[in-house]
């Protein structure tokens, strides 16, 4: 590596000045990236270690270095800041747990359906499914607010089946809590589950599940993002030649077997992209929360991204806001690496055995 870098400079001759021209050509990109990406990130990193209150430049002499104080306030020091952060992480965790798998499955199913040669009006369906993705989230949130009010369309429809719908966007009941309540499990008043635990949130609160309000947002997210990911899957599906499907057919594989043993493994790179984008996007969810006010529904729709905004702009705790953003940043990177590892190509034999057993067990009858 070092040799390769040094050689052109010493070489002279026809390759003389190549490095300089190279730098010249990439200079615009380097400058833009530095000014708009590297410098802001470094400044934000500095802010997260400082006591900057949002007045004048964060580099002015009155701002001092406070070490890990901001990080400590939201993670280890008991108090409101820690609980708010803990609640936001809990809310977002459930959001991700539901949104990422569901939107991937829905996107894949839609892609497979609109890719079928026999489907009439393919173009219409593709457009229809993609439409929510190109519409502004804010507009969709407002439409959803109308649909999900206590006497809105959604409740009228489920009311026709005799179900008394909740006041969706204002209901802070966790759905796991509701289920536990239905089978007669009452909130513990003492014991380990009632004590403040990790990030100041009690165990009972950690297992609350997404609140009804958050569930509405989960539905909204699946509705809006599935279209985009459908497009990715569709592109990948179209690059799988018809000959491969034919070969599978000749080998006697049914449609289910073809899907799980041929299509899905061939979609693996796209699957990785979709899962990664979904994971990142859903850990950064902000606009929906902001439009809804963020603090409604008992604080169950607040997320770290929203909390970072709120701490900075409203409470003027810029250091804490930046610290939240960096924790989120590191967290997303770790999750992405984990996922990359989980989806990596393994030794082919082990992989084949695993899929064969799972598909035969999975109901190939």
């Amino acid at each position: 590596m070092p040799r390769a870098a040094v050689r052109p400079r010493r070489g002279g001759g026809i390759r003389r000045g190549e490095a300089r021209s190279g730098w010249l050509f990439v200079a615009p990109a380097v400058i833009i990236t530095t000014v708009f990406l590297v410098v802001p990130i470094l400044l934000a990193l500095w802010v997260s270690f400082s006591d900057w209150n949002g007045f004048q430049s964060p580099l002015n002499p009155r701002v001092s270095f406070v070490g890990l104080e901001n990080y400590a306030a939201i993670t280890v020091e008991e108090g409101l800041d820690q609980r708010n952060f803990g609640t936001a992480v809990r809310n977002n965790l459930y959001y991700v747990l539901f949104v990422v798998p569901l939107q991937t499955i829905v996107a894949l199913l839609l892609a497979v359906q609109v890719n079928r040669a026999a489907l009439r009006g393919k173009g219409f369906f593709r457009t229809a499914f993609y439409f929510p993705s190109v519409t502004s989230t804010v507009a969709i949130v407002i439409v959803f607010q109308f649909l999900f009010t206590a006497s809105g369309a959604v409740n009228s429809v489920i009311g026709a089946f005799g179900i008394d719908g909740p006041d969706w966007f204002n209901d802070s009941t966790g759905i796991f809590h509701a289920m536990l309540g239905a089978i007669g499990v009452a909130p513990p008043t003492s014991g380990p589950l009632a004590e403040p635990g990790f990030l100041g949130i009690s165990g009972w609160q950690w297992i609350a599940g997404p609140s009804v309000a958050m569930s509405s947002l989960i539905m909204l997210a699946i509705f809006t993002t599935s279209g985009t990911f459908m497009l990715l899957f569709l592109a990948a599906l179209q690059s799988i030649g018809a000959d491969i499907d034919e070969a599978a057919l000749m080998d006697g594989a049914g449609p289910v077997r073809t899907f799980f043993s041929i299509t899905l493994p061939m979609l693996r790179p796209t699957l990785f992209t979709v899962l990664t984008l979904g994971l990142i996007g859903s850990w950064q969810v902000f606009d929906q929360i902001y439009v809804l006010g963020g603090t409604s529904a008992g604080g169950t729709i607040s997320t770290p991204a929203f909390l970072a905004y709120r701490s900075s702009f409203v409470d003027l705790q810029w250091g804490q806001g930046a610290a939240i953003a960096f924790i989120l940043f590191v967290f997303i990177i770790i999750l992405t690496l984990l996922q990359r590892w989980a989806l990596a190509e393994r030794a082919p034999r082990a992989f084949r055995r695993a899929t064969t057993t799972s598909t035969t067990a999975g109901g190939l009858r």
């Binding site: 007045f55 580099l59 006041d167 702009f313």
Partner: protein, 408 residues
């Protein structure tokens, strides 16, 4: 590889230095005319924006300056952005709940004592906008909370003028009488800025001198009274009535009484012009009458380049004449003694709001308190089912922590 790393590092360092060197933009400070001032307001609607713009234009024409009035979508966020970007507006609405924080962080200029009319403001408002013993900014106007009664519903329930509630028991009675199938007797925002009134009427407070007393028995009594109303079915919050705020529930006829301030007049005139109602003073609690007074002040960024001109503009905007024009346009009460007296005379239907001043206190707003209050507002969603003490305990702890931090 080494070269690239070094040049990248050098480039980054260079940019950081350049960025740091970005000095505050120098605007011409000399001369009192030809200035271009920006004013950021948190407007309640078109009526307010138009009135403020008209007043600013009148001043601008007189002095030869120009004033650009910007109605903020989200005042606090836009202020934060302006200050962090080192480009705050020359003049802005300083919300009461953020004032202490901004003053403590050294964002705003303590100019108010230099105003010609500095001693004419109501003492309670002077106090609200003082930090560390210094009067910071001129109160723009003020509002108190009153009880609005839908007169049609009132008559339909067979109630007369003699039944206007003056204490808690009477309030509970009329609220129950006004509650019908599709109309609830009383509604109000589910937040400290409304619920807190009942805690104060019971003799409670959040801060007593240097002590935080949020978990007092009096505060619990105030909440317990509201819980009784909820249990009777005569109090519902706007969220339960599918309304954005109390005024909307009132306008839609879903609530026969609400607790709001003078801004309700403008809102009803705009959105529900057919709604007939009166505003009366809030009924007194066991410890006597109490209401909240809200006021914003005219904020000026610290070290403002346009200080002299801005002070002149503020004097113009806070003159009795101009404040009465605002009162007429969007229903606020003038912040000066003489102005508020003239207002009560000119708008007898709003006399109840002025009368409230006698028993008005400002909601707690010391530095950092707003986060604790926001958390309490969230907790209040459980007011229907939770024990008052369990709602007040976290408030006590959070306020105490914020107070210690602000004073420690």
């Amino acid at each position: 590889m080494r070269t690239s790393q070094w040049s990248a590092a050098a480039l980054a360092a260079g940019l950081v230095v350049t960025l740091a060197a970005c000095a505050p933009a120098d605007e011409s400070g000399e001369g009192a005319s030809g200035l271009e001032l920006t004013m950021l307001i948190g407007s309640s609607g078109d009526a307010e924006t138009t009135a403020v713009q008209a007043a600013a234009d009148a001043w601008a024409a007189e002095t030869g300056n120009t004033v650009e009035v910007i109605a903020a979508n989200d005042l606090v966020q836009q202020l934060g952005q302006g200050f962090s970007g080192n480009n705050p507006p020359d003049l802005f609405y300083m919300p009461w709940d953020q004032f202490q924080t901004y003053a403590a962080q050294g964002f705003i200029e303590p100019y108010a004592d230099e105003l010609e009319n500095a001693d004419q403001f109501l003492p309670a408002l002077r106090e609200q906008f003082s930090y560390d013993g210094q009067f910071y900014c001129a109160p723009k106007d003020f509002s108190t909370l009153g009880l609005q009664i839908n007169t049609e519903a009132w008559a339909a329930a067979g109630l007369t003028d003699a039944d206007v509630p003056t204490d808690w028991d009477q309030l509970a009675e009329v609220a129950a009488a006004l509650t019908t199938g599709d109309q609830v007797g009383l509604s109000m925002g589910r937040e400290y800025a409304r619920v807190g009134v009942f805690m104060n009427q019971a003799g409670g407070a959040l801060v007593d001198g240097d002590a935080i007393v949020a978990d007092s028995a009096e505060n619990a009594e105030g909440l317990a009274y509201l819980q009784q109303l909820i249990a009777d079915g005569s109090l519902k919050f706007p969220q339960e009535l599918e309304a954005g705020w109390g005024g909307e529930a009132f306008g839609l006829g879903k609530a026969a009484m609400v607790i709001e301030g003078p801004w309700i007049n403008g809102a009803m005139a705009n959105d529900f012009p057919e709604r007939q109602f009166i505003s009366v003073e809030l009924p007194a609690g066991p410890a006597g009458p109490s209401t909240f007074a809200f006021s914003n002040c005219w904020g000026m960024p610290v070290g403002s380049e346009t200080r002299e001109a801005t002070i002149d503009l503020i004097e113009f905007l806070t003159s009795d004449e101009q404040q009465l024009a605002f009162a007429e346009a969007f229903g606020v009460i003038p912040s000066t003694e003489s102005g508020s007296a003239a207002y009560a005379e000119q708008f007898p239907e709003n006399a109840a709001f002025v009368a409230g001043v006698a028993s008005a206190t400002s909601p707690v707003a010391f530095q950092g308190a707003s986060a604790a209050i926001a958390d309490f507002n969230t907790q209040l969603e459980q007011i229907g089912s939770a024990d008052p003490a369990s709602l007040l305990a976290p408030l006590q702890a959070n306020l105490q922590a914020a107070y210690d931090e602000a004073n420690g």
